[in-house]
């Protein structure tokens, strides 16, 4: 074995990690036009197939799928003002932009105020779905993704984005489509001593300058869905969703960009996994004024949910 090559393959990323001490802005700080989250509701469409995953509608066994979903963008723009947007369903090129030579469906464009922008999506074009399946790496053998791509822009800033809408075969068994996770409440306080914030608190929580507050986003256990995938030999394997929460704010500092229930296989034991919590400490800024915080949950298979909190910093 060329251990030398393996060693270099391990060492050079380590070098990069050690070398990366540039003073980049934290992803948690929202200072300009940002997309903080995109959800599709539902995130997954299940279509009927036989036990081998061959779509029933191809065999004349039923109507072709008519998938409907709603795309919601969570957009922040601290500098104020509306933003413009475009949205298409398309086949992606290597740069994750709509392939100019591929099929696409215009879904929407316009202007909106920062916040949540919801756009309904109806994918009635069967040939487009067929081409999306063919663009999949294994030709839709295990399902395929339809890509929703677009851009938000304001002034000189623009942010292109992509989001998948997953089409999954049921393999002849009842299959519940994925749901977006919910952050049903926010708590604050020390670990294991957290108390829930009231709805009033979430719209105007008071905090002192430089105050340290620990927040705990709560995701109900029923949102950690158990689901089945088929392995390479078409045998079912069952997994349970593991949540990741990302943190954003227009001011203040979060101790971490995200917390996750997914085990860091390199550095964490099974014991660590049991202790995993999604709490995070936030330090209020030294200046008075409102800070908007967002907590975005992801279930690891395209499901997204979020919760917003406004903190009023005073003396």
């Amino acid at each position: 074995m060329r251990t030398g090559s393996l060693i270099l393959a391990l060492l050079i990323p380590a070098l990069l990690v050690l070398a990366c001490s540039a003073d980049f802005e934290s992803p948690s700080l929202v200072s300009d036009l940002r997309i903080l989250a995109i959800s599709t509701d539902p995130p997954e469409y299940v279509y009927p197939t036989d036990e081998k995953g061959i779509p029933m509608f191809e065999e004349g066994g039923g109507p072709p799928p008519l998938p409907v979903t709603t795309v919601t963008l969570l957009v922040a723009n601290p500098e104020g003002g509306k933003f413009s947007y475009t949205l298409k369903a398309c086949i992606l090129d290597s740069n994750l932009a709509c392939d100019a030579e591929g099929p696409s469906i215009e879904i929407g464009k316009g202007e909106a105020e920062p916040g949540e922008l919801s756009i309904p999506v109806l994918l009635a074009d069967q040939s487009f779905l067929q081409k999306s399946a063919e663009a999949d790496m294994v030709k839709g053998l295990f399902g395929f993704a339809v890509w929703l791509a677009g851009e938000v822009s304001s002034g000189d800033e623009s942010v292109p984005f992509v989001k998948s809408f997953l089409f999954s075969p049921d393999y002849g068994q009842p299959k519940v489509p994925n749901k977006n996770p919910r952050i049903t409440e926010l708590k604050k306080g020390e670990k294991d001593k957290e108390i829930a914030l009231s709805p009033d608190d979430e719209t105007a929580l008071a905090a002192k300058r430089d105050e340290r507050i620990r927040f705990l986003p709560v995701i109900p256990d029923e949102d950690r869905e158990t689901y089945t995938v088929r392995n390479h030999k078409l045998q079912p394997e069952e997994f349970t969703e593991e949540m990741t929460v990302s943190f954003f704010g227009t001011c203040g500092t979060f101790e971490a960009e995200a917390k996750s229930e997914v085990l860091d296989v390199a550095f964490e034991t099974e014991e660590d996994k049991k202790d995993k919590d999604l709490g995070v400490e936030w330090v209020a800024p030294a200046e008075d004024g409102p800070c908007t915080l967002w907590f975005v949950a992801a279930d690891g298979r395209g499901g997204i949910g979020w919760r917003k909190l406004v903190v009023i910093v005073g003396p």
Binding site: I7, E25, A37, L96, L141, W147, F167, F239
Partner: protein, 885 residues
Amino acid sequence: MRLLLAVALTLGLAIPGVCRAQGDPPAGDEKPAGDGKPAPIVIPPGLKQFVNAEYPAAASKAGIEGSVGLLVVVDETGKVSEVTVQQPAGHGFDEAAVAAVTAFEFEPASMDGQPIPVRIGYTYHFKIEKKEVKKEPGQIVDGTVKEKGVGLPVVGAEVALVEARVRVTTDGKGRFKLRNIEPGTYQVVVSSPEYKPMTAQVVVEKEKDVEVRLLVEPLIENPYETVVTGKKEEAVVTRYVLEQKTLETVPGTFGDPVRVVETLPGVARSPYGVGMLVIRGAMPGDSKVYVEGIDIPLLYHFFGGPSVINPNFIDSIAYYPGNFPSKYGNAIAGIVDVEPKTDRVEAWSGELDVNLINTNGFLEGKIGDRGSFRLGARRSYVDLVLLGAFKAAGEDSTVVAPVFYDFQAQGSYDVTDEDRVGLFYMGSYDSMELVTTDKETQQDIDLSMRTNFHRVIPSWKHVGNKWSSAVRAYYGNDSFRFNTVGLQMDAAIHMVGGRGEVELRPADWFALGAGLAGGAAIGDFTGRVPLPADYYVPGSSVSGVDQLRSETVSELEIHEKYGVVGGYVEPKFMPFDGVTLVPGLHLAWWHHPDLDMYIWDPRLVVRYSPIESLTLKGGVGRYSMPPDPQFTDARYGNPDLDYQWAMHYSAGVEWEFLEGMSVDLLGFYVRRYDLAVPSSDLVVDEEARTVKPLHSESTGWGRSYGMELMVRHNPTKRFYAWLAYTLSRTEVAGFGDIGAFAEPQTDEAGKDQDLLLGPFDQTHILSAVASVILGRGWETGLRIRFVSGNPTDPILGGTYLGDSGGFSPIMGPFRSSRLPYFFQLDLRVEKKWTFDAWILSTYLDIQNATNNANTEFITWDYRFRESWNVPGIPFFPSFGINGRF
């Protein structure tokens, strides 16, 4: 009767400069030629190495003495090429005298400064010392002349006892003997062209012989012996040979001989000096490094550390950038062959070197008259220095630091004058250790990575007039461990094998080299490692979700056996003056557990020298190597892979345009085929509707072409320098995921469209090296490097990934831009103090003396809007102290 083993009397040969050929007028007495031109200045040969003749047993028993008159031809290298008996003495004296004189070594004669062959007369006397010889009046002054500091014998030095008006020349071991010296006080004067004149006093007492030891100081302090660099072997297109003096004093290499290779043509610069051997744009694993004919897994210690072999063990390093000889296989780019010292140790010597990074000790000595040994060890202490610094600062700090040590041992014994047996052992240990003063961190984080290897190589070498051979066996052990809390990997490989080579020279116009080699290895790989998921989630390669879950960590256990049997044959034809043709064939059978590969590589080298100072050369050849075993494993690789191979084409010229200065210009083209590349593709079984991961494919291919230029000033005692420049381009294709259903790009046109710059493509590589001994123990040197930046992929922005919340870079054309140019000036200055029995030196080796902020990588913020050029090594001085005896 007491037997004298040898008596040497010459007709004026003992003292250099005084010798004359028998029958020829004395030097300086030549009459001018009839055309009035001044006569050439002729300096006769000087005896350098005297050999005692064996006194014929029968003659000794019979008490017979004799003198043999000889006519001796000394060639331009100082060697005796012909001995003819002019006045025989019979009784076996003639044969004994011829045998002894044939082994003499001379400083060659010269005419107007150019070495010339000469024929001289020489009489060898055989005398038997009789017991009842009358005691000579006076005493004997017996002594040796040695070089101060290193203790090397000084051959051919003139020792004169002024008041006694006697003089003598030291023999091959620096010894001399002055007889019939009356008691008194005398001035001794020692003189030699390469040493400062030395004067001492000796007191001779009545009836008491005297033994003296005289130490002379060289005009230039140089503990090393012959200094040659860049000598080309006549049977290859290009081979650069670096020998010891050059190996340890090139600035910026911290005294590491192997790093000097990186300043030669064809070798790309590696980031942070980590020491990847990238030759003509190929991947590091495509070139091989050999020590004592056996390949080793690691060339350098971690994180740009020194090479794994102690410099004191290295006799020479041969570097082949391409078109290497048929005896080498398992490589498709270049070869670095490190030849350890195996010569007999003449005197005990040792060295201790202490610098900021490591301490290095070395000792060599004699075992009887025919044996030698060498021992070396080195240990780094960056971890200890950092820990001490943290504690001194009183801060809690954590860093991962490299630790390394290596050790070598070598022994040899001359069974006969032509046969030497030897044993060479080398071991190397590298680890990355967590250095922390924070107890919590120490408890929380378990991180270690280490690798080590050992080689034991017994050998037998025969060097004769008509044939030479080398037979080596080896046992090796490589191990690697990576361990954190959640991940672990252990690998251990045991290997045995051997190789035998023979070189024959049955005629002046023909030589033949051939060899056989074989080896077997057993590898054990175990661990807990993240393996690719055995299920597929549509879109996950784009969205980045579901890529690494807790459940994808798997227990790994592989136990495999590998083997190889190979051989080569390489005849060399010299049909006409100046023409050399070397066809060759390398064959091998490689056995992997699920794959057998049969390799046959024909090669050809042609050299033509129309005049002595000019050589035209060219070569073509095929070079093959199997993929690494992990690529062909049935479970984690692809057993259907092909072996990788390349065609090398090169042509060039070598020209010695001035005495001691030469240029070597070479054009090359390398085409690589069937390179093993990792693949995330899935192969679909449409009927069963299952997929199987491909893991790896033989779809990679590439080409490199360009020009290599080497201009050098041959090393002298004071100075060496060279300039190496490479202009080249490397392109690759077939390395991306082309998808399970994509058509393979088999036609040339289709392939050309996929061409990208290779990851190590560096258009311009310029290195200039110079070192000069200033005198009074001072030596200084510099190295300048100017290199094109490596290709990079321009990033035009970032796309927000709604599934994961991260960003994906929007790429410009792949590898269409470059990092900034690299420029670095390295300096070295050394001061030596020479004492009677040892030499002390201190040195300062500065990398990046101008603190140029060279960019090694570019990193980006989370959304690919801001970038930061990660700088390379800043101004970095290393101070060291060296003691050598």
